[in-house]
Symmetry: C2
Subunit: 456 residues, 2 copies
């Protein structure tokens, strides 16, 4: 019979059989009822604290993660060394000197040098955008502090970050090329707190290094209003930030897995990053991801039988300072990168997931559609595009050929807290976390059972 | 004719005639279209900054207010000296030492002493409430830091403040009586920022003075979670706060008026406080009030003819440190307190006014009802009670017999910013400010024209 009924066609196309669908539903119920992901974040932030690459907290977090994975019943747990440099934030003080003395809130950008011990006092030269700063004539900023006041826009998908982050990463080089003695920028953030947002910046070998710091939004407003009046505005800046050149910082990717029952060499990988900036406790960035992926794997590992493929959790080191852990992982695993049949990271806050976007081979889109049907009742829509890469660290694995599905949350509020001292446990919403953990659990289970080649 | 029609009865009872009602409506339109109150706040916060009693900013603000009143056409402008002590915040650093080193965010409470130069490190003893602290046995806190973790509740009318503020004002005395070497309290605030809330505290002469500081809400959460685990939690505290005993701080109430055309010796007073805490720029507390009452008086002063009674704006000194300006005002004006026929202050944030509560003689309630009719279209309801006192400073004038009408805003968010470094211009919502300014303008005009004795 060449003709098949529509019903049997769908049935034959399905990746999960009835039993497996029942397991998927049971996993959903388990994840929605469990506060394991929250408990993991609470434990990490309360017992370990921040985890900046090379810090004591970073070292403690590796021990924490290994112990938790063992306690959660992972079949294998191991670490893979990651090395890099250790940047020390030190102290950062800034003060408007004229028109009137006023302390402002800044944070050194990650990687910045400090000022001289005495600090520096200089006139503020204002630019609304990085492009304006680039357009300034050479030497026009000699002896001045360059101030870029561009304000990040709020978007559900975090699209305001891209246009804003260029100043943070590259602004100090441009300012130095114009002769400035320091760069002060409005924080890359959407809040209105006297809280600055840190994040990584870069120097160029051939350009003079100058200190670079982010200013809180209300302080940037004040500066702009003072500058508008046309009279001199000057600032004092004192920063003791430095990279510890004496030592090589050592950290590690922490990896744990539940070994597949039928295809143990095919890996569904769930990622998050174990490091954090040093100003909050890294509850959102990326405690959330750590809690979600460890809990998702654990829930699956509690099933009576392991799924066919291996579920591997990778907690990457040193994401914040340049994806060092991910790069090391890709390097170390280049010969078994093909074994990574599917992977995703969580590194984008507590918003509810509303969309999934695949980045898979065309033939496996039907399987993705099936997964989308299971996730639709959770409010997850399937995007029409098929071009997604993994988030953060996992983008490096995507670049190395790993298929991925990217889950998009409502990111409207993410940049209120991103890279600030406000990144603390209270921002984690337990109910939203349960839903997102359930989605990751269901996704991972599906990917480990679906006998489709996501590369094709 | 003994019988009057209902219509003419109402007409005869009305305080404002048709012309005056037209003027009231014109004032409403003017105030709703004017951004004068915002411009005043912008000017004060941008050009002067904070205004702590005795500081340079305080002195500058007096000059600022006198100049602005003159520029706004006030008929008379003068200052009345207020003296007090000058408290210096200095620096305040705190750090969790165990279970792991973690900087926490604190602010010294206003009036607190500092620690020794080396600071102090001590075990943290946790109390959920001030009552729990009071119940601790004498000497049970010897060598410890007392930590009270009571969390203020959010309420539309700010009712959560009362139960929370007792620890701030009196907690250090209680902690010292039990032998504690310092008091750390969860901030009196409803936000979840790493931002502490300052505010005045008191010592008693017969009790040892110990340093007292407020901790940000997320840091208080972290401490509570660490303490829950039952292991030792200790903190390092270093504060350089002190009261400058060498000098008497001098400030001033700044007073300006538009003289009444018929009853110049009867005063409708509009109050706000000119001082602020030193951590933000005092935009909400009480830049808002300053902008509103100066703009309201100015709008009325622009009418072709002054209203019958005098409109007096009083910008009080040193409210934050104990109503020093208001107390001085009542003392200096005790012989003409009867001339203060009506008065109100604005010192409660940017929320929309939804309610007015009189505190007047029973016979003048009809006049209040008439005012309420004019304000009803602005969303202001008349409360059934008749027991209101003026806000903040004006409560001292109420206590001295001045009738008042209290306007209640939605205060749900007020304590997110109250007494923090987040009290900055960006929190002022220009449209809400126009509405509240219009209400104050209409109220002041009505009180200056209504020929009723509000004391009766
Ligand atoms: Zn991240
Ligand atoms: Zn990050
Ligand atoms: Zn106030
Ligand atoms: Zn206040």
């Amino acid at each position: 019979a060449v003709l098949m009924s529509v019903g049997s066609f769908i049935a034959s196309a399905q990746q999960l059989n009835t039993d497996q669908q029942a397991q998927l539903n049971a996993l959903k119920t388990t994840a929605l009822q469990s506060d394991l992901s929250y408990q993991l974040i609470e434990s990490l932030t309360t017992e370990v604290g921040h985890r900046l690459m090379g810090s004591e907290g970073d070292k403690k977090s590796i021990v924490w993660a290994v112990n938790k994975m063992k306690a959660l019943g992972f079949d294998k747990v191991w670490t893979e060394e990651v090395t890099g440099s250790y940047w020390l934030r030190g102290e950062a003080k800034a003060r408007i000197v004229a028109p009137y003395p006023h302390d402002v809130v800044i944070l050194a950008l990650g990687g910045s040098i400090g000022t001289s011990k005495e600090g520096l006092t200089a006139k503020v030269a204002h630019f609304e955008t990085l492009a304006d700063l680039k357009a300034a004539p050479d030497n026009s900023l000699n002896g001045k502090i360059a101030f870029v006041s561009y304000q990040m826009e709020r978007h559900i998908d975090g699209d305001g970050y891209g246009p804003a982050v260029g100043t943070r990463v590259g602004g100090a080089v441009v300012a130095a090329q114009k002769g400035a003695s320091a760069l002060i920028m409005r924080s890359v953030g959407t809040d209105n707190n006297r809280t600055a947002h840190t994040g990584v910046m870069r120097y160029k070998d051939e350009v003079k290094k100058i200190p670079a710091a982010a200013l809180s939004n209300p302080d940037a407003d004040l500066l702009v209003n003072q500058l508008k009046r046309g009279e001199e505005v000057s600032m004092y800046l004192n920063m003791t930030a430095k990279t510890n050149a004496e030592v090589v910082a050592t950290s590690a990717n922490v990896i744990g897995e539940f070994t597949g029952s039928e295809l143990p060499n095919e890996i569904v990988s769930l990622g998050a990053h174990l490091d954090s900036w040093d100003v909050g406790t890294g509850a959102l960035d990326d405690g959330l991801g750590i809690g979600m992926v460890m809990a998702a794997a654990h829930h699956i590992g509690q099933l009576p039988k392991r799924p066919k493929r291996t579920i591997r959790v990778i907690l990457f080191a040193a994401e914040e300072v340049g994806l060092l852990g991910a790069k090391q992982y890709v390097k170390a695993h280049k010969d078994d990168m093909n074994a990574h049949v599917m992977g995703a990271e969580w590194d984008f806050g507590i918003g509810r997931i509303y969309k999934m976007t695949p980045g898979v081979g065309a033939q496996s889109l039907n399987a993705v559609r099936e997964l989308a049907q299971y996730l639709a009742p959770m409010g997850v829509a399937l995007a029409p595009e098929n071009n997604a890469k993994g988030q953060s660290d996992m983008s490096a694995l995507s670049d190395a050929g790993m298929p991925s599905i990217n889950f998009s949350p409502d990111g409207s509020n993410y940049f209120d807290y991103h890279h600030t001292e406000n990144d603390t446990l209270d921002k984690v919403e337990p109910e939203a976390l349960k839903v997102n953990t359930a989605i990751y659990t269901m996704y991972a289970y599906f990917a480990a059972q679906a006998m489709v080649d996501f590369r094709k």
